[in-house]
Amino acid sequence: MNYCPDEVMEHVFDFITSHKDRNAVSLVCKSWYQIERSSRQKVFIGNCYAISPERVIERFPELKSLTLKGKPHFADFNLVPHDWGGFVYPWIEALANHRVGLEELRLKRMVVSDESLELLSKSFVNFKSLVLVSCEGFTTDGLAAIAANCRYLRELDLQENEVEDHKGHWISCFPESCTSLVSLNFACLKGEINLTALERLVARSPNLKSLRLNRAVPLEALQRILMRAPQLVDLGTGSFLHDPASEAYSKLKATLLKCNSIRTLSGFLEVSPRCLPAIYTVCQNLTSLNLSYAPGIHGNDMIKLIQHCRKLERLWILDCIGDKGLGVVASTCKELQELRVFPSDPYGVGNAAVTEEGLVAISAGCPKLHSLLYFCQQMTNAALITVAKNCSNFTRFRLCILDPTKPDPVTLQPLDEGFGAIVQSCKRLRRLSLSGLLTDQVFLYIGMYAEQLEMLSIAFAGDSDKGMLYVLNGCKNLRKLEIRDSPFGNKALSDDVGKYETMRSLWMSSCEVTLEGCKALAKNMPRLNVEIINEDDEVAPSSDDRQIVGKMYLYRTLVGPRKDAPWYVEIL
């Protein structure tokens, strides 16, 4: 290592792009740490409270692209109050104050105010890319600032954010000189959009490859837009409602014939199923299809559509496709790698739901499948064992039975053996979500076999502390553990406190951990923040230590307790 000049090492490090690898490189020796840090441009911060913006900026002077994650994953399911934290403003302020040459910002589960967006838009001359996933706190006024001020904007990607819509004026804020757009996604916006401004924007964006529209864009406008952008690779339709006998529909059909670069398709936020044949030609080349926001498409229409999609690698769909429909997927989509089946009827007993049959069919028909999210009516051990035999490549396996404590309906047994087979067979499994009636036994299997497991989600499972202990003691690569409504208490929590410094975070809600247990843990571990979230309690937080804690979130951090927590969050 002494024989290689720094410039050579830096050149070698240029080829190392994954942040995990770069983190490893920086630990080898002081010299490599220095070379690595002075050349790293892309930084990933998995928990915005684990470190301060100032320290990130200081360590990485060439910072150009920053990814930040805020709230814990269960915030996606309304388990974390909206103002719990994850504010991006201090980060943007620090980046601006230190004159960082920021070009790209990717945020997930953070609170983004209009002020932050405005500051962002005015502080970084070369800013190119803004990606917001599951964020909240901003309105279309903030988007207007981004549109107006980011002269070289290439990407504005809004995925599933909760945005207060002040109507369509923001799209008119892109100046005539803005011709650099490559990706524009505003599907999650609920309000009206200025269609003329949108069409003109598309017309002057020759590099536009990805466009996802919202519900307010009607079919006629879609046709005009596609005329201007036949080069699109990724399309999200807005409204797909029309009379199939109309001229507008025929025009659209003809225009779509010219769009032979489309590989990713989504949207259909409102749809007349009889208009779907217009996209059959596009389907032939699709590698990715997302119909999870299209509840207007029913089983048979879905099946007819899928039959045209022979090259599909990723499919996100609603469960009204049924087991029969999944059978069609299994026989048609031989290249399938990722499947997500969402519940179309979240509260009903689900006549529409899928069962273990659909999953077994998929596992038999799709040899390349490695990523699964499956909401279903029921599951059996036999089915899971078969799936494990058919598909040992799973890296992500997430099952959710709509009735979360349902046993195997055939044998009335817990699903321990089924999940046991999955973890034993899938040696590369990194993410797992359990469901159904489960005892401590399943955790024994997980601890024993799931060596690569990084994230585990548990709900309504287990009998005792032993369950949680099997996992904490067994899974060496565990980074995130989230548990709800399971009988794990202080004994499991406090057994190996050092473990939590090797993990990003632990979430436990409606379990049996008491305030006393949390306090003891926090006392011994200064590099962990142990947060108790008490929004419902009228009782003052620290009154009775024997009290069971409603929600606890703990995470490792280098910067101590945060100062922006709301009144109902107690940091021990």
């Binding site: 996606d76 399911f77 309304n78 388990l79 599951s134 599933e160 909760e162 999650c188 009379d243 199939p244 006998a245 936020l269 007349s272 009889r274 999870s292 926001y293 509840p295 207007g296 969402f342 519940p343 179309s344 009827d345 979240p346 509260y347 009903g348 007993v349 909401f375 959710c400 709509l402 009735d403 979360p404 404590t405 349902k406 009636l437 005892t439 709900a459 309504f460 009998d463 005792s464 502390d465 032993k466 709800r484 409504d485 399971s486 009988p487 208490g489 202080n490 004994k491 809600s509 409606s510 379990c511 049996e512 008491t514 024997r546 009290q547 069971i548």
Partner: protein, 163 residues
């Protein structure tokens, strides 16, 4: 917590006085406020819907709820008269899938056989009726010529006439 059966002693002994009532555990864990007589082990329809189960994103939940509301609560009642009978009936067009469904209902409602544009008029021996509708422009048209959705957007009332 959710299982009444095999709870080991270590989890029960820890804070028995402060444990929540087992029979309502599942619902409390789901942040449902009111008590309900429903079976704990099934998540069938209840008035206070849990917003944290099943675990889907709020945006998706809203999109699915909106679709359900639209398909459940949308109605479109029109008046239907039969020639010679002064008192008319009312019919929800949106409760029907299409023309065939509509004709079936009308056949039953008025106890007759109704002809529309899909059926060829070779029933000259039998008594039959013809179904017409008044459109937005006030013209009386034969039912069945235009696609169902277009019909729905233009129909104002129906009339069953003797041919």
């Amino acid at each position: 917590m959710g299982r009444a059966t095999s709870c080991s002693s270590s989890s029960i002994e820890s804070s028995t006085e402060l444990r929540k009532d087992l029979s309502t555990d599942l619902r409390l864990g789901l942040s449902i406020s009111s008590s309900s007589q429903h079976d704990n082990s099934s998540f069938s329809r209840i008035r206070d819907q849990p917003s944290d189960w099943p675990p889907i994103k709020p945006l998706l939940r809203k999109a699915l709820e909106a679709e359900e509301n639209e398909s459940n609560s949308a109605t479109f009642f029109v008046k239907v008269y039969m020639e010679g009978i002064p008192i008319g009936r009312k019919l929800d067009l949106l409760a029907h899938d299409g023309y065939h469904d509509l004709i079936t209902t009308l056949d039953h409602m008025f106890n007759t056989s109704i002809l529309w544009s899909d059926v060829d008029g070779s029933y000259s021996d039998q008594k039959y009726h013809v179904l017409t509708y008044e459109d937005k422009e006030g013209d009386w048209m034969m039912v069945g010529d235009v696609p169902w959705e277009m019909f729905l957007s233009t129909v104002r009332r129906l009339k069953i006439t003797r041919a």
